[in-house]
């Protein structure tokens, strides 16, 4: 099980959390990979990439279901990244006795279309700030509709739902306009 304060930390941009995290795990993680034949520079790069993977998983609620400890899981992500790197370089790597679990390092189970992603990026930028704030609070910060009533000063849950639906509709229209010229 992964402690919820770690998951919350990855979901935040709390500088102190990342500073503490770096101080706690950097040395051991890099040592773990360099012992397997990865260069220090690559090990540091993998450490950074693994942190980004953990962040993504935290946002996608994938860490709540993990049954092993945080450290075991985090190091397994690093091991997989090391495999990927060495495969790209046509080298082999041996992790004989680490007993680390298999992990899925993809962002999410659902596949996203690259062209659609680009269009969303572009149109989110030009959206009104109220809509962007509402969508970010819901999709990224994971605030529930109930919480949005309080933080956004809405009348009730239905008002939030209606506003969210209007914002999504607006975004869809902008994307469609973009696709069809």
């Amino acid at each position: 099980m992964i402690d919820s304060s770690i998951i919350e930390g990855f979901r935040s941009d709390n500088e102190m959390f990342f500073k503490n995290f770096y101080k706690t795990y950097r040395q051991e993680f890099v040592k773990f990979l360099t012992k397997k034949g990865i260069s220090t520079a690559d090990a540091i790069e993998i450490f950074h990439e693994s942190i980004l993977v953990m962040r993504k998983k935290a946002f996608n609620y994938e860490l709540q279901e993990i049954q092993v400890s945080f450290k075991t899981y985090f190091f397994a992500i690093g091991k997989n990244k090391a495999y990927d790197l060495l495969n790209r370089e046509n080298k082999s790597i041996v992790f004989i006795t680490d007993n680390l679990p298999a992990t899925n390092d993809g962002a999410t189970d659902e596949e996203c279309n690259d062209a659609l992603i680009e269009k969303i990026k572009k149109n989110l930028l030009s959206m009104g700030s109220a809509c962007k704030k509402l969508l970010t609070s819901f999709y990224l910060q994971g605030l529930t509709i109930k919480e949005l009533v309080i933080t956004g000063g809405y009348e009730n849950e239905n008002t939030v739902r209606a506003q969210k639906s209007r914002c999504l509709k607006k975004l869809k229209e902008m994307i469609n306009k973009d696709i069809h010229g």
Binding site: S4, F59, A107, C112, I120, K121, Y139
Partner: protein
Amino acid sequence: MDKENLIEKYFEGTLTAEEKLRLDKLLESDIELKEEFNLQIAIKQVMISEGEPALKAKLKDLEKSYRSTNKQSISFLIKWPAAAILIIAFALVFIRTFTPKDVHEDLFLTYFTPAENIHYPITRGNVDNELKLAFSAYESKNFEQALILFKQLQESNEFNELKLYLGSSYLAIGDTENALEVLIITNLDDESSRYRIQWYRALALVKSGNVEEAKTLLNDLVINGDFELKKAQKLLEKLP
């Protein structure tokens, strides 16, 4: 429960196993719903990826400071072995004596993020407005500058809610004493401020090691409040 509610719960992270199965089945059979769902997934992934460049830059900075700290301590150990032994001995005594303080500090660091500006939104125009300048500094995390401006504004007694942002700024720069002096709950506080001030006061108390008083505030927040309820509950469970 209708389809929209299932999707809503998916993004809130509150789907039960049974509801997840229902949603999966619906997505297999309803093409329109699948399209709508995929669009929302894509929006979320874009939002997640938007924060990555900033985090990458932050990690590079952390690596730089990690290396420079490491380099300094290694060269010190080589040059001054006797002094290093004394320092290590002192550190061991220090750790044994002050471990509880570290626990409080760690808990504070885990749960503290500067208060979100909900009272004085920065809008276009009024470029020279002092309030806008203060919150621009605050939102850019330039807390020292924000404190100077907030203090000037506070003298006018016009902005009661400023104490929340003053307290939050003091906490961000590690000045717990002053934070506790300004984060005081009064009858003048409106509903939206009261429990925010209470949350940040509780955090300041945790940091200063005043656990019992922090627990009282957190318990009241969990029962009666409307802000950071989950975090307050978790913090309560972790407090020694």
